[in-house]
Amino acid sequence: MNGAAAIELLDVRKQFGATRIIQGVNLSVRQGERLAIIGPNGAGKSTLFNLISGRFPLTSGRIRLNGQDITGLPPYRINRLGLSRSFQVTNIFHRMSVYENIRCGVLWSLGYKYSFWHPVNRLRDVQRRAEETMERIGLARRRNVQAGVLSYAEQRALEIGITIAGGAEVILLDEPTAGMSRTETAQAVELIRTVTEGKTLIMVEHDMGVVFGLADRISVLVYGEVIATDTPEAVRANPAVQEAYLGGMHKEAAA
């Protein structure tokens, strides 16, 4: 494991109108580390992901990827620098086949960019990478099926497949197991573990089983602030976390 920071957030803030969603988050994730972000609903977890991946502009603060400032860059530039993300609500190309979906995730990273002179079906490297990815996410047999008609769990797997297909070093997964059954969740955890081997992983997750099984460290986000970042055991024992997090959970339950 390498000590250098893959992702650094420096006093990141985000406001929608007068509402402060993210209020000064500082976070540093080492290369090869697996970090889970937990917190009650509305704590700003997905917003934080949207800020890191360039979907929304920051109100203030800076974000660095492998030491390089990526603040304010559009999503595609950030992706090209080696950061890839998945979405909480399945975000795939519904009208394309599984193979084509994965291929979309592969093309840029292999340097084909906006080429209009390469016949895409004859690109061996693209084909190989796409086949490999489909093998890894267990959808090789569903190669030619239209993505829109896959089962929910399969679509979630495809979502991860598109995310990792480009070989990005930093992977952001937004609630990868949301809406899955127990067995599906267990399979998904194994999948995430294998495909992010040796990469930096940041994930938002609600399922505590998944979080404690996968994460090296956990950050707790409450009302747009990180109140603790530590090993799973330490976070579990942290009274401040219990107070704030469970307090938040209670409020949520009451609402």
């Binding site: 559009p74 595609y76 890839s84 993300r85 979309c104 093309l107 390469h118 895409v120 079906n121 297909a165």
Partner: protein, 423 residues
């Protein structure tokens, strides 16, 4: 389980392209009549134009109301090039002149496309319309270059014939158009199979996801637009050679709307859709306009009916029959289809009767109250004629309702069986 490779398709592809080339080559042999050649030439030009339009609408999800800008400006630059060659300013084979149109189209695609492709969806559509109107107004503003209302005429027979081709006879012009149409078709198909072509589809379906796999969606749309403008320019160049005149009409909203209608009727979802659309549209325009002045109305009605009931176009209507044919169930649909066809014909007769009678009444020179409709003498001022038309419409409507229910019931039953068989 073994994975499917793309190889097996290649033979089929050779057959399809070979047959297309053969069709282009043999089409003029159908008849000696000169209007057949006129028709075919027009079809060839529209095929290129509609395919280029579908690079935007079908493949890139960009609904443009101003595509004639690129073909029209391509035509203007071609006409000037042709006239310069005619004056002996420089030498250039007429065979390659459409390239001038293509490059002009590309150049204006680079300029205007930069503005239009900043947006997508509805806003793109409005801006494309605005650009179209702007160019049209500009064309009338600079008569020195564009020739004002009358346009610029030319003579395509210039210079020394190359390989014996003078382009005097219409047949030679047809083969010029056919050759360019074939090459453009192949090129545009090849473009769909490139990284840009595939990502254009991705951006059409889900622009957000495309941004997160490294693609600047604006750039994808822009490049797709430029390439499309090139082929539109080629079509414009060919129309200049074919008609030997280029006027403001070439860049008009009417032209832009025409290519949109042709493409949509044919079908935007499949590559061959616009080809089909170009053929049908040309038949409509040339064949029907000879019979009735209300042909545009019929075209509009046809278009609306397609939008409402068959948004995938004719190509889609054909393509969805293939699984049924494969399952050997098509014969079960023959009877419902025949009934629907009969009901449709009844409705159509009533509609045509009503339209033609109203048209006749509204014409200034409507002294004569008896018109000939399909060999029948119809008195447009007599009540029975109107009753007959009304009865046709009502009966047709009711029959259509029943027939379409019949078709859809059979259709769904067959689809269910096919799906059950596949699962």
């Amino acid at each position: 389980m073994s994975t499917l490779r793309y190889r097996p398709l290649d033979l089929g592809r050779w057959i399809v392209w070979g047959a297309t080339a053969l069709l282009f080559a043999l089409a003029p042999l159908m008849s000696d009549a000169s209007f057949v050649l006129t028709l075919l030439s027009q079809m060839g030009i529209l095929i290129i134009f509609a395919l280029s339009y579908n690079m935007l609408l079908g493949q890139g999800g960009m609904l443009s109301f101003g595509h004639a800008v690129y073909s029209g400006l391509g035509a203007y630059f071609t006409v000037h090039a042709l006239n310069l060659v005619g004056k002996g300013a420089f030498w250039f084979p007429v065979t390659l002149l459409p390239l001038v149109g293509g490059l002009a189209g590309l150049a204006f695609g680079l300029i205007f496309g930069y503005v239009t492709t900043k947006k997508s969806g509805t806003t793109f559509a409005m801006i494309s319309l605005g650009i179209g109107e702007m160019v049209y107004a500009c064309v009338l503003m600079f008569p020195a270059f564009f020739g004002g209302e009358g346009g610029i005429s030319t003579n395509r027979v210039v210079g020394e014939p190359v390989l014996g081709l003078t382009y005097g006879p219409a047949l030679q012009v047809y083969y010029l158009i056919a050759a360019w149409a074939f090459v453009s078709m192949a090129a545009m198909f090849a473009l769909t199979q490139t990284p840009l072509g595939r990502m254009a589809n991705a951006v059409r379906d889900n622009p957000e996801r495309a941004e997160f796999v490294g693609y600047n969606t604006q750039r994808v749309r822009y490049l797709q637009m430029c390439l499309s403008a090139f082929f539109a320019g080629v079509a414009g160049g060919l129309s200049c050679i074919n008609y030997e005149i280029v006027s403001a009409e070439n860049v008009s909203a009417l032209r832009s709307g025409g290519v949109l209608i042709a493409t949509f009727i044919g079908g935007v979802g499949l590559f061959f859709g616009p080809i089909l659309g170009a053929i049908v549209f040309t038949l409509f325009a040339i064949a029907l306009s000879g019979f009735t002045k209300a042909w545009l109305l019929y075209l509009g009605l046809f278009f609306l009916a397609m939008v409402l009931y068959a948004p995938g176009g004719l190509a889609w209507l054909i393509a969805i029959q293939i699984p049924v044919l494969r399952a050997r169930r098509f014969s079960e649909l023959l009877w419902p289809y025949a009934l629907a066809l009969a009901a449709g014909l009844m409705l159509l007769c009533g509609l045509i009767g009503a339209v033609e009678m109203i048209y006749h009444l509204s014409l200034e020179s409507a002294e004569e109250s008896v018109i000939a409709l399909a060999g029948l003498e119809v008195d447009v001022r007599a009540l029975p004629s109107w009753l007959a038309v009304g009865a046709l419409l009502a009966a047709g409507g009711v029959a259509m309702r029943h027939a379409s229910r019949f078709v859809s019931a059979r259709w769904h039953a067959i689809q269910q069986d096919i799906q059950r068989g596949a699962a």
